[in-house]
Amino acid sequence: MTEILRVEHLKKSYDGFLAVNGVSFSVQQGELKALIGPNGAGKSTCFNMLMGQLKPTEGEVFLDGENVTGKRPRDIWRRGVGRTFQITGTYQSMTVIENVQMALMSHNHRLFSVWPRAWKLYREEAFEFLETVSMADQADRPCSILAYGDLKRLELAIALCHRPRLLLMDEPTAGMAPSARIELMQLTADIVRDQGVSVLFTEHDMDVVFAHAHHIMVLNRGELIADGDAEAVRNNPQVQEVYLGGGTLFKEAADA
């Protein structure tokens, strides 16, 4: 297995407050890895530093061995990283399929062309991506009237357009019905399996995490307290302490 992403001693401080404190980990090719932790543990901050939305105070991020610390989001994207957001950021003034077409236009370096009609470009291809996330039936609806869960799936389609080798998914199933969650994570797992994509995701729903993640990392107060397979994490005393009463949850997940 080749290592895609490696993070070394990542730190982020806001006015002296350490949101992320010396986190190191790596993601292998074809791996589906979860980053969990209570609210305010620093998960989103971590993601934002990986994707370039935030500059780390200290530490380094390597993609395929190349140091990409502090590079801008679009440079990271160029190196094959896609991401979805905790609070979705879709293009409200476009239709669902146009959102995907937009990503495809970017992928195909057509952003500065002023002649072709944009909605005719890559429509077929975009439709296929929508089918992948089961959104094809909503292709021509305005994005602004979508349900939250649908927006999440749309974002996944957008992120896939660039054929990423690594997907960063921030709370991909938040706001979805339980059945939809399973569906989406199954889909994600399929993508990992079929396309050899690596996925790093954060999640609150432990069912989702323990059912699908190959490996799980636990972040607490900016520090990584566990990194291993489901079993190892579940039995980690520090993790159990953090998730007070969470033991049941883990057991349920294990039973499932």
Binding site: R74, R78, F85, M102, S113, R117
Partner: protein
């Protein structure tokens, strides 16, 4: 040294009125997010009401009492304006309210002319404060010393109000987070009215306080508004101490500028503002604008679509009608149409960056006028053939937009707007002061088209092809990937960047394209009028375009063009009447209140509603 000190005191005294007006504006912006262009009008009202009261009330008590009463009166007028004009439109798109305040300016101008007449009023002297004191041997006006003493008192009073009273807590809460105040169970409408009244009262006080040094006249509203905005922006929008520091800096710098760089009087403050904004994008004490805070208020934009066949036929029929117009219309109709097409292209170019890009420019006239000047200078100095000179209009304007955009594009929201304003003022002052080249405000004259275009009909077709062609091209670009990328950057810069869109670069390109198209409009303009003057570069010219875009409807594609057509016709018709500014102001306010989505937007909503009913039936 004594002289320096005396100069410094003059600067401090000048800062007094400026600070009063600016603090009011800053307060209003901080809480209501309204960019109140009518603030200068409240200042002017303060001066006129103050003069009137001082003529009635005698003596010390009369003088100072008049000033306080003036503040009260102007505050009441401000409250009235807020309740009648602004309250209905808080939910309208971002910055839409400034169009309404522009209507208020026009109304107040004509009302003041009706009430006080055209002649300038000299302010009465402050009793007992005529003449000078000598400080280190230098003469210093007694009244200046009083003003210098009063300003900190007012700053302190405001500070006390904001930081020590319940009202102040609410105001601060509202400045930080508007939803919060609603959640606190406070009637937001009355808070806004109160703050607007307080801000207006401060402007009125400023107008009355400056009376012994000047007077009241009908141009003072426009004369102060530029400086006030500069002060508020330099200080940081919404920051009172910032406004204070900035008014002192600007006033003192002005005094030294007058002595050591007498030619600098027109641009000094705009240069300072540009420098401050380039170094500190949110002013000295301003805070960064949280993304989304100013974002798309109101209903999200509907996805754009090319017109359905019926619409396309209608547009084609309309264009056909325009093409046949010379067969049956008289010459003046053609002239009016040329004006309209030029203005529509200008507005469409602004609408392109404003609507699709979310970039509100307050200085778009720099490119319209810049294009006009580029062509005119070539004709005037080098006898360049018209056809060649004309090509330089969009070219030069595009290059100018690249240069200005390079500085501005890194800013957002109101600060972006103000930096474009600063740069357009620099361009204006270049045209105004570099007389050897531009002939200053004598303008460049005898810039007429080539022989084959000199008749009204040929020039009409020339305008139609290039002007309408430009509008159609811009429309086309909006439907092309570039236009989509621009909208993507506006809708969600975060997502756009994460999918490889260089948002700033796209915006930069759009800014340059909009500049070039404005320059094209300027090129058509200059050869149709035969002359160009710095007036085409003035702030007012930028605002004409801005207002029609808002009136037409920002969130529509045809808004700029329709707004421009509407405005040209209404203005042409109204200016024939005696009190046309009053009427025009009322028309603007009426449109703003009745059609908060703009003319096109509201028609679309109405149409959708009718269709919906039909479907339901």
């Amino acid at each position: 040294m004594a002289f320096f000190f005396a100069q410094f005191l003059t600067g401090l005294a000048n800062a007094a009125a400026l600070f009063l007006v600016a603090s009011g504006l800053s307060l209003i912006f901080g809480v209501t997010r309204i960019v109140n262009f009518a603030h200068g009008s409240f200042y002017m009202l303060g001066a006129f009401i103050g003069v009137t009261l001082m003529e009635i009330l005698p003596g010390h008590v009369g003088f100072w009492g008049s000033i306080l009463l003036t503040g009260l009166a102007v505050g009441l007028i401000g409250a009235l304006v807020e309740m009648v004009v602004l309250r209905p439109i808080y939910r309208a798109p971002e910055l839409f309210q400034l169009v309404a305040t522009f209507g208020v300016i026009l109304v107040i101008q004509d009302l003041a002319l009706m009430v006080w007449g055209a002649e300038d009023r000299l302010g009465p002297r402050a009793p007992g404060l005529r003449g000078i004191w000598r400080i280190f041997g230098e003469p210093v006006l007694k009244y200046d010393i009083v003003l210098i003493a009063i300003t900190p008192v007012i700053l302190f009073a405001l500070w006390y109000l904001i930081s020590r009273t319940r009202l102040g807590v609410l105001v601060r809460a509202a400045t930080q987070d508007r939803e919060m105040v609603g959640a606190l169970g406070v009637n937001q409408a009355w808070l806004f009215t109160g703050v607007f009244a307080l801000g207006s009262a401060l402007a009125g006080l400023g107008g009355a306080l400056q009376l012994p040094k000047g007077g009241a006249d009908l141009l003072m509203d426009f004369n102060i508004i530029g400086a006030v905005f500069v002060v508020v922006v330099i200080g940081g929008m919404g920051s009172l101490p910032g406004a204070f520091i900035a008014s002192v800096i600007i006033s003192v710098l002005n005094v030294f500028g007058v002595t050591y760089l007498p030619q600098s009087t027109l641009v000094l403050m705009f240069v300072v503002m540009a420098v401050v904004l380039i170094i500190r994008p949110y002013g000295l004490l301003g805070r960064e604008e949280v993304a989304g805070e100013h974002g798309q208020v109101g209903a999200p934009e509907t996805p754009i679509r090319p017109y359905p066949p019926a619409g396309q036929i209608a547009v084609a029929a309309f264009l056909g009608l325009l093409a046949l117009l010379p067969l049956f219309a008289d010459q003046f109709v053609l002239i009016l149409m040329i004006d309209m097409v030029v203005f529509a292209l200008f507005a469409a170019s602004l609408h392109f960056i404003l609507g699709s890009g979310g970039m509100v420019s307050f200085g778009h006239a720099a490119f319209f006028g810049g294009g006009a000047y580029a062509a005119a200078l070539l004709v005037f100095h080098f006898d360049t053939p018209m056809e060649l000179a004309f090509l330089f209009a969009p070219l030069a304007a595009g290059i100018l937009a690249l240069a200005i955009g390079w500085f501005c594009i890194r800013l957002t929201g109101v600060y972006f707007a103000m930096l474009t304003l600063a740069f357009s003022q620099l361009v204006w002052s270049l045209a105004y002061q570099w007389r050897d080249v531009t002939r200053g405000d004598d303008g460049l004259v005898n810039i007429w088209p080539a022989e084959w275009l000199s008749g009204t009909v040929p020039y009409y077709y020339f305008t139609l092809i290039l002007g309408v062609g430009g509008i159609i091209f811009l429309r086309h670009v909006i439907h092309a990937p570039f236009g989509y990328a621009l909208r993507a950057g506006r809708d969600s810069p975060r997502q756009a960047e994460a999918t490889g869109i260089d948002v700033k670069r796209v915006q930069f390109g759009a800014f340059a394209l909009a500049g070039a198209m404005a320059g094209l409009a300027g090129g058509i303009f200059v050869f149709s009028k035969g002359s160009v003057f710095p007036t085409e570069l003035e702030i007012a010219a930028s605002f004409d375009a801005l207002i029609v875009v808002f009136l037409g409807g920002v969130k529509t594609l045809a808004g700029g063009v329709v707004g421009a057509g509407f405005m040209t016709l209404v203005e042409d018709w109204l200016t024939r009447l005696e009190y046309w500014r009053l009427l025009l102001g009322l028309v603007i306010i009426a449109v703003v209140i009745i059609a908060p989505e703009g003319i096109v937007g509201s028609f679309r909503t109405l149409w959708a509603r009718i269709r919906h009913k039909e479907d339901a039936a």
